[in-house]
């Protein structure tokens, strides 16, 4: 028994766009099966995961809050993945961005520092993420070290650094020994977009990133260069595009956006540093990037869809006692389905039993 793959001559853009939708439905059915196997009702789970968040205005805001870091990080990853470079350390770049930006917030805490604090914090966040992202890129371009493993290892290092800071030098002295920093001053807090709303300006940054990226990837030489480097690296070199420069650029961009996501989350949502500032946004963003077919608009939609699973996961934990790990497992299944669907669109797959003549 074996599979036979025949490349399809042409694929309509509609089919390509629908492939992630089909993948999502498939992943949903599989997850339903898992829930049923666990002896729970898939219908009740569907209600908690999908229907309730979408019918509740508070949950809709929460959806935007959760989709913000996912979209920001995934947009950055799209630059990397289009050029076929594997930055899987966005989680670490997110943390370093948050740490470097928060450094200023803590330095200026309690002083009369003015309006400049917040913008500089955001810039430091971008800088921190970009520099941290450049480490694996530099090791790759200068020494040929595989970027997958180094970027991933640096995630652990970043998390341990954050852990050290909030338990040690940056711990709030009046915080009853809890491992957390002081609460940021208003001048260091990213304000909500609407008065008394939950959605902070990070959502605006994400929207801007989507628009800018749509133009850059679709309408500029740089966007073409990334596609060419990804699809035909030799052709890109003959065209005079330096692979090294491309590598450094995409890692800096994706690291910077992840860092921005990190500092926006800390200053706009959490309001202080804690040992854990992400439920795995950096890793989930990989799923988001592929679910959105590495297309900025697609990524925006995908971020909203995947954010739904985060919120659904949290309420399912409370209401149905379904563990949060289910959400993670679902995200893994989803990514597998998306990648398989991509291949199914490009190839016609037939299952052939052995012995049948070719």
């Amino acid at each position: 028994m074996r599979f036979e793959l025949t490349p399809r001559a042409s694929v309509s853009p509609v089919v390509r766009a629908l492939a992630p939708v089909a993948a999502f439905i498939t992943a949903f059915l599989i997850a339903g099966l898992v829930i049923w196997l666990m002896g729970r009702s898939p219908v009740a789970a569907f209600q908690v995961y999908v229907s309730q968040p979408l019918s509740d205005p508070w949950a809709l805001q929460e959806l935007l809050v959760k989709a913000t870091p996912l979209a920001l990080i995934a947009i950055g990853l799209a630059y990397c993945f289009r050029a076929n470079f594997w930055n899987i350390g966005a989680e670490g770049q997110y943390v370093v961005g948050a740490v470097l930006g928060s450094w200023l917030a803590l330095k200026t805490h309690g002083t009369e520092a003015g309006f400049w604090v917040l913008p500089v914090m955001l810039l430091l966040g971008i800088l921190g993420g970009a520099l941290y992202g450049l480490i694996p890129a530099f090791l790759k371009t200068r020494f040929g070290v595989n970027e997958i493993l180094t970027s991933l290892m640096l995630v652990y290092v970043a998390q341990l650094t954050l852990d050290y800071l909030v338990r040690g030098p940056w711990r709030d002295p009046k915080g009853f020994n809890f491992p957390q920093s002081v609460t940021f001053d208003p001048s260091a807090t990213l304000p909500p977009v609407l008065e008394a709303g939950r959605v902070h300006y990070g959502a605006v940054f994400a929207a801007v990133a989507v628009l800018v990226t749509a133009v850059v990837l679709g309408r500029t030489l740089f966007g073409y260069r990334l596609r060419l480097t990804g699809d035909a690296p030799r052709a890109a070199r003959f065209a005079g595009f330096s692979t090294k420069a491309t590598t450094l650029a995409v890692f800096a961009i994706s690291g910077g956006l992840a860092g921005l996501a990190g500092i926006a989350e800390v200053s706009g949502q959490i309001g202080q540093l804690q040992p854990s500032i992400s439920p795995g946004y950096g890793f989930t963003a990989i799923t988001v990037a592929f679910l959105g077919r590495l297309n900025p608009i697609g990524i925006l939609v995908a971020a909203l869809v995947v954010a739904l699973t985060f919120i659904g996961g949290e309420s399912a934990q409370i209401m149905l006692k379904l563990p949060l790990d289910l959400t993670q497992a679902f995200q893994g299944i989803l990514l597998l389905c998306v990648l398989a669907a991509d291949a199914l669109v490009s190839y016609r797959v037939r299952l052939i039993s052995r012995g049948v003549a070719k």
Binding site: R2, L149, F283, T327, Q328
Partner: protein
């Protein structure tokens, strides 16, 4: 037993799961497939083995369940990357995410349970040798098994016809296909072997190393095993050396934490990860670009008939 001996013994225990997982991934990668799902398969191996061992009160059944879980996860990976020719890096990541999530689900009811230590096998006579006696001849069966596995894999890859076929599929799948080698089947079996090894490594972690289950207990060991394969330049012997170096780094940082040198514990906890980066860096500087990597590694295979 002196403290020094005790430390050496724990190094062996810490190195064994790394070695087993690295050996599986090495065979998979030699066939030209990059499976980044080691961490997820290992977590599944740990959760399933522990669940089975506690439920049936049998270490043997636990180990079998761990191996089976790893192999099943890798079969899913094989379906996607071989059957559908999907992107291997992405699929491997997905497998890790899925494995960590599923392992959490399976392991949740068993948080707080403990298993008794498994028996060590004493090689009569040899274990009485000073220092190295206890270190090499009074270990559990897995330790002996992992060494035997290394020797067998090395022998298989370099001295058997089937091993030669596997390597040629990994070096150039188009030529291998042209010569009539069953690329698909060889890769499928290599992926299954890798998954079974990862599952076994996870079982060792849960049943011997910690003897309890906790979420996230693999703590990046799957990724370190992946790095070991690169570090070893895809050679079994070097993977053995590398596994023991990393095992030593892990254990020594734990002892350094206990000794309280005034260095923050987080700095010491970061040592294995930083060591991995430095090892990969040192290797690349010495050997140049990715020498030793199988030629078709990570590339999807779609034959033109």
């Amino acid at each position: 037993m002196t403290t020094f001996e005790a430390i050496l013994l724990t190094i062996v225990t810490a190195s064994t799961p790394l070695l087993i997982a690295a050996m599986g991934e090495l065979v998979t990668e030699r066939s030209g497939v990059l499976n980044l799902g080691v961490e997820g398969m290992m977590a599944m191996g740990a959760a399933c083995s522990f669940a089975a061992a506690v439920t049936f009160d049998s270490t043997l059944l636990g180990v079998a369940a761990g191996i089976l879980a790893g192999a099943l996860m890798s079969a899913l990976f094989a379906l996607v990357v071989l059957g559908f020719a999907a992107n291997q890096v992405g699929s491997g990541l997905a497998l890790t995410i899925l494995g960590l999530g599923l392992a959490g689900l399976i392991g949740a009811p068993f948080v707080g349970s403990r298993r008794d230590p498994i028996a060590v096998v004493d090689v009569p006579g040899l274990s009485d040798m000073p220092l190295i006696g206890r270190l090499f001849f009074e270990q559990d069966l897995f330790v002996y098994g992992s060494i035997a596995l290394t020797v067998l894999v090395a022998f298989y890859l370099t001295r058997t016809r089937s091993g030669l076929m596997l390597r040629s599929v990994g070096e150039n799948h188009t030529s291998a296909h042209g010569l009539g080698l069953p690329v698909w089947r060889i890769r499928f079996l290599a992926i299954l072997f890798g998954g079974a090894c990862s599952g076994l490594a996870g079982a060792y972690l849960a049943l011997v190393y910690t003897r309890f289950w906790s979420p996230g207990m693999t703590a990046g060991r799957g990724w370190i095993a992946l790095a070991l394969v690169v570090f070893a330049a895809w050679r079994p012997g070097w993977a053995l050396v590398g596994a023991y170096i990393f095992g030593a780094a892990t254990v020594l940082q734990l002892h350094a934490q206990a000794a309280q040198f005034g260095v923050p514990s987080q700095v010491l906890s970061a040592v294995p990860y930083l060591a991995t980066i430095l090892a990969l860096l040192a290797l690349s500087i010495r050997r140049g670009r990715a020498i030793g990597a199988p030629g078709s590694l990570g590339m999807p295979f779609v034959p033109d008939r």
